[in-house]
């Protein structure tokens, strides 16, 4: 993912060195960010290939043994299999469940992020390019929405729409698009006044071409930074909503649902059912934020040396 991120980040200051290379080198200067990047890549790998690398398929009932229920981490089951992270109430291997959970959480986060970027970017660009009433309308909508916390907006939307994977993705898109629209508009307003846009206009290029081919690439750096952080936020929000019981249905066990399932066992000291999915969630979010933090510094023209 971050490879793409870097590729998609051209900077205007084309020095002797290729800008991508500069971004990559600056990025690598922070060891924490590199660790973050490695962890993110590993998590994406696990999420993509979960069915092939997990010790068992946690949702294939034939592979579960109820006698193995609620075993502590490191215990050996009846079949001789070692459960490194313990098992839940159905005798499900937590390690496998977490890997499958990552798959669900990441795909919901990335899918909603992608659509939110598309929507927010288009509206933000339109607002900046056309100005006037279009701008006012879109930005008032953004203001109105951003004056309410994401969790509240999502809560209400899910109450209206009901449960389901598509519903939660819609809710996450609605929650996120405004951030992208505002970011892109801010960047585009600055870019719009520059000579190259005027030049493109003088060449009588079609508006859509000016907006998407000329304006957009120059607005990407701040967008990428916001997108990284927002994907982490979306994953956390989805987990929260699933925990509250209004997010994903039980047929799509994300990390939030795993944690929620373990809640009832926690007070009796069986911490692992909630603890390890939470750790996986935490590591994912921290790693994405580390990468995002570094990208913010690298792509910020004000901090360029």
């Amino acid at each position: 993912m971050s490879d793409d991120t870097i590729h998609a980040a051209p900077t205007r200051h084309a020095a002797a060195e290729h800008p991508l290379r500069r971004v990559a080198r600056d990025f690598a200067e922070s060891p924490m960010a590199v660790v973050g990047l490695v962890v993110v890549s590993a998590i994406v790998f696990v999420a993509l290939f979960a069915p092939w690398i997990t010790p068992q398929n946690p949702y294939d009932l034939r592979q579960l043994d109820i006698m193995d229920a609620r075993l502590p981490p490191g215990a050996e089951g009846w079949s001789g299999m070692t459960y490194w992270l313990g098992t839940d109430a159905q005798g499900r291997d937590m390690l496998s469940a977490i890997m499958y959970g990552l798959r669900t959480s990441l795909s919901v986060g990335v899918a909603s992020g992608f659509f939110a970027v598309c929507l927010g970017m288009t509206l933000g660009l339109c607002a900046a390019y056309f100005g006037g009433a279009v701008d006012t309308l879109i930005m008032r909508l953004v203001d109105l929405q951003l004056s309410f916390p994401a969790i509240l907006v999502a809560l209400i939307l899910l109450a209206v729409l009901g449960q389901g994977v598509d519903k939660i993705i819609i809710a996450l898109i609605v929650v996120q698009w405004a951030y992208y629209a505002r970011t892109v508009r801010g960047a585009a307003l600055v870019e719009r006044r520059k000579e190259y846009v005027e030049a493109a206009r003088c060449l009588a290029l079609p508006t859509s071409r000016i907006v998407f081919r000329h304006l957009l690439p120059n607005c990407l750096p701040p967008l990428i930074v916001v997108a990284t952080v927002q994907v982490a936020n979306a994953i956390a929000l989805e987990a929260t909503l699933s925990f509250l019981g209004i997010g994903l249905p039980i047929t799509e066990p994300s990390l939030g649902l795993l944690i929620s399932n373990g809640f009832q066992y926690m007070l009796s000291g069986r911490y692992w059912i909630s603890f390890f999915p939470g750790v996986a969630l935490l590591i994912t979010i921290v790693a994405i934020n580390l990468v995002g933090d570094r990208l913010r510094d690298v792509l910020n023209p004000r901090l360029q040396r």
């Binding site: 969790i151 209206v160 925990f243 509250l244 019981g245 944690i259 007070l267």
Partner: protein, 325 residues
């Protein structure tokens, strides 16, 4: 100044009208509350009586108008479930939520600003780096999971603090609050900490960023050159300027603390508005959902107004712009 306030109030009024429309229309689409209100074996006559008594047989716009005229008289409808006025249900639970939010905010500000100042003034020391690493952690910890872990650690393993409920309340200046009793304070610690950690990280980062940008500016150098004591330079000259974004965020985040209390209240079984709204969503108790949202909107608008006013006190440039406009 008064022009500014009047204009802001008008804007706020518009927001309230738009929100009430959106919320009412949105919540109307949730589903048919009749299915919940009426027993499955009820006769057709009973069904109709219930529908008529709640006004559910009227067209949507008429229901909305009735709702608005009621709202203006402080009547936001009766809860389908509790058969009590929705607004009084919300107001009964408002103090518990406000108490939680205020204590959480106080924690976040009380710890966040000093830590942020420290990290900003000494960015390369071990303490500075640790504070920043901690704030990244606080930022990334999913709120609900962090709450579970607090319960795990302080209630289950160490057994120091209670994990559920509000505990006994007492009265301070006529306000009923958990802060008045020792038991109540013990009950408050974990939920408030749970709510505060995220905001604390935010305030640390914001303060640090402000300090880092400001310490190199000329006016700070000038203040130093005048021979002012470091404490005065930091406490007055620096502090006033970095406070602008921090005050904004404190104000804006106060609303989000109240919203996030939904999660905290669910985990810690805190009897506030947040728990009520989750329960109401689950049973489609429409008047309560609408009333909750309108109360939240009012709180948000009030907070934003206060933030704007504070802002213009802190930053003379804003005052100038307003005078011109």
């Amino acid at each position: 100044m008064s022009v500014f306030i009047v204009r802001r109030l008008l804007q706020s009024l518009l927001v309230i009208v738009v929100m009430s429309l959106l919320v009412f229309a949105g919540v109307y689409a949730i589903g048919n509350p009749v299915e919940i209100l009426v027993a499955p074996d009820a006769t057709q006559l009973e069904r109709e009586r219930v529908i008529a008594s709640f006004g559910l047989d009227r067209p949507l716009w008429e229901q909305y108008l009735r709702f608005v005229s009621g709202a203006l008289q402080g009547d936001l409808g009766r809860s389908f479930v509790f058969n009590q006025p929705a607004i009084s249900l919300i107001l009964q639970r408002l103090p518990a939520t406000m108490e939680l939010a205020l204590v959480a905010m106080a924690m976040a500000v009380g710890f966040g600003i000093p830590l942020g100042l420290w990290a900003g003034l000494r960015p390369d020391t071990i303490a500075g780096r640790t504070i920043m690493a901690g704030s990244i952690l606080g930022f990334s910890l999913p709120n609900f999971w962090q709450g579970l872990m607090l319960i795990m650690l302080f209630a289950v393993i160490l057994g120091w603090l209670p994990s559920t409920g509000r505990g006994p309340t007492g009265e301070i200046f006529g306000i009923e609050t958990s802060l008045a009793t020792h038991q109540g304070r013990a009950h408050l610690v974990l939920p408030a900490l749970n709510l505060a950690l995220f905001k604390m990280s935010l305030i640390i980062r914001l303060t640090r960023a402000g300090v880092r940008e400001t310490v190199h500016l000329d006016y700070i150098k000038f203040a130093r050159a005048k021979g002012l004591r470091t404490n005065r330079v930091i406490g007055v000259h620096l502090f006033k300027n970095i406070m602008i974004p921090v005050v904004t965020i404190i104000g804006l985040e106060f609303g989000s603390v109240i919203a996030f209390a939904v999660v905290t209240e669910t985990i810690f079984a805190w009897p506030g508005m947040g728990k009520l709204i989750i329960d109401s969503i689950n049973v489609l108790d429409r008047p309560v959902i609408v009333a909750y949202l309108l109360v939240i909107v009012l709180i948000f608008i009030f907070v934003n107004l206060v933030v704007d006013l504070l802002y213009s006190v802190l930053d003379p440039r804003v005052r100038l712009q307003e005078a011109k406009a």
